[in-house]
Symmetry: C2
Subunit: 315 residues, 2 copies
């Protein structure tokens, strides 16, 4: 398996499955699938979180884990222009798992459900060697916003800072005896991300294409570039650099753009909008634009360099 | 965790979550959750299958595994009176897993999707120590048939033989060098069960309550008894005994009723129907009736014994 990535595998396997159902608006290959039920566009998505791959039990509080599980799934719904509606959870765990741990995960889940205003309505549990959480989430949108809708001339917007989660993860993995306050803040970007549900009305109304930044800005823009069949130019001076990331990179002698472009799990949204509508957008960073052609490029003053999206590996 | 069963745990954890959404017709505690979307009753269910807990990789062909994954999920939809519509799959596996294995699982999935006539429209993959398949399935019904709808005077029907899957599993675990043809047949009841989608119209139209027999007839009737608040009388002479199970029990000196009552994973349906409508039912076995009171009982000639549902442990 080592020579084949997650995305290649999904493509290979799903090529075996054909969808004949005309109520399916969108199948594989986007953040959500979408079906038409009596005129309503209903979104479906799922995201599995596995101990050791997606989280380390001793490095995240159970409440944060529950919060994060819900947030990463809400993020997929919002990226397609939707609001979350109903969800189901599958949990599997070794038999020595403490009940108090699972209760605390559920407390985090409950907080997140309240925050994002939707319901958990079902689930099942099983035994496993590792802790596994798989959330199935549904949503609703008036307009499905695909990865493939980007158009030449569109302006590209980013809803917030990227790279913070990866810096936070690296700090966590340093296993320092004590963390300074600003380091703890960075860590919390990794352990307690918030899906940008506040941007859902904007995405639903205006965006031509949208994706959430889960695998790294470059990696996720790679999907937009491929599926929208456009060339993407990022303007380096417009990429927001968070002061805490600057501080981190100075201290540990790192390049912040390595984090901004390739760090995963920030759960910001990146979307494109026609030039005319771009003035409607507030509080998001215009980080570049789409052109005819293909490839992902970084523009620095007058120079333009290609960026090669690296697949993000969790932990 | 050893002192608490799966069902207790789900109850304990879900008691923390309250559902405020008025479009939710049924939440936790049945084979499916159900929501009302613009007048359509949409069913949701999920079932996780984990290597070592639900299947042994060397004991089931990958194609059968794919078939079974779909079938056990369809069974939950049918048990609520619905037909399957759309599904999503989460798969996780160790990195040394052969691609050909996963491809063969997908072939089984595809065969089952074609057989049951519905679509797989999304999914995600991840790394894990064990192979994990989690299917999320949706369905549609004109009338939600709950576990809680059983009424005094109802006749209880069973759609087919139970106990075969457990006998098949025991044969598999004997690791015999060679199996006789009739033993292979029993094994295939375990490795390739078929959901009783043929009974969906009957359940949707007539059943007061229904459940699929995944955890054993007694165990699953325990849910009906509890949730319908009725007493259930099973008539021993009406419980169907499959000739292959008889043969197995004779050879291995076992009591067939131990298998019929407590063997899991048969994926037959058991449902109750009012006396008046019971004459409409063809091809199902009338195995007993519901009375005022509580508890599950086995009637043998003039004697009545209580049955204590044992929780079924997978493998």
């Amino acid at each position: 398996m080592e020579h084949i990535g997650e995305f290649d595998l999904i493509e290979k396997l799903t090529s075996l499955i054909d969808i004949k159902d005309s109520s399916v608006v969108v199948g594989f290959g986007d953040d959500c699938a979408c079906v038409n039920i009596n005129g309503k566009l209903i979104l479906f998505s799922s995201d599995i979180q596995i101990e050791g791959s997606h989280f380390l039990k001793e490095k995240i509080s159970p409440e944060d884990l529950g919060w994060k599980l819900i947030s990463v799934n809400v993020s997929d719904i919002v990226a397609c222009g939707g609001l979350p509606k109903w969800s189901l959870i599958s949990i599997a765990f070794p038999k020595e798992t403490e009940i108090s741990f699972l209760e605390d995960v559920y407390k985090g889940i409950k907080k997140a459900l309240d925050f994002y205003s939707f319901s958990l309505i079902g689930g099942n549990t099983a035994k496993a060697n590792q802790i596994v959480f798989d959330l199935f989430i549904t949503g609703e949108t008036k307009r499905f916003v695909p990865r493939s809708g980007g158009k030449e001339g569109d302006i590209l917007f980013l809803t917030g800072h990227t790279g913070l989660s990866r810096a936070g993860l690296e700090l966590l993995l340093m296993e320092k005896k004590e963390y300074e306050d600003w380091e703890k803040q960075l860590i919390s970007f990794h352990t307690k991300p918030t899906a940008r549900i506040d941007f859902q009305p904007v995405v639903e109304r205006f965006a031509n294409c949208c994706i959430d930044v889960s695998d790294g800005l470059a990696g996720d823009l790679g999907h937009i570039e491929k599926q929208s069949k456009v060339k993407i130019i990022l303007e380096k001076e417009n990429l927001p650099v968070h002061p805490l990331l600057e501080k981190f990179c100075k201290k540990y002698k790192k390049d912040p753009y390595e984090y901004i472009l390739f760090g995963g799990e920030d759960y910001q949204l990146v979307f494109s909008i026609s030039k005319e509508k771009a003035k409607e957008i507030k509080n998001a960073y215009p980080i570049g634009y789409l052109e005819k052609g293909k490839g992902l490029f970084l523009k620095e003053k007058k120079n333009i360099y290609p960026i090669f999206p690296k697949g993000f590996q969790h932990i």
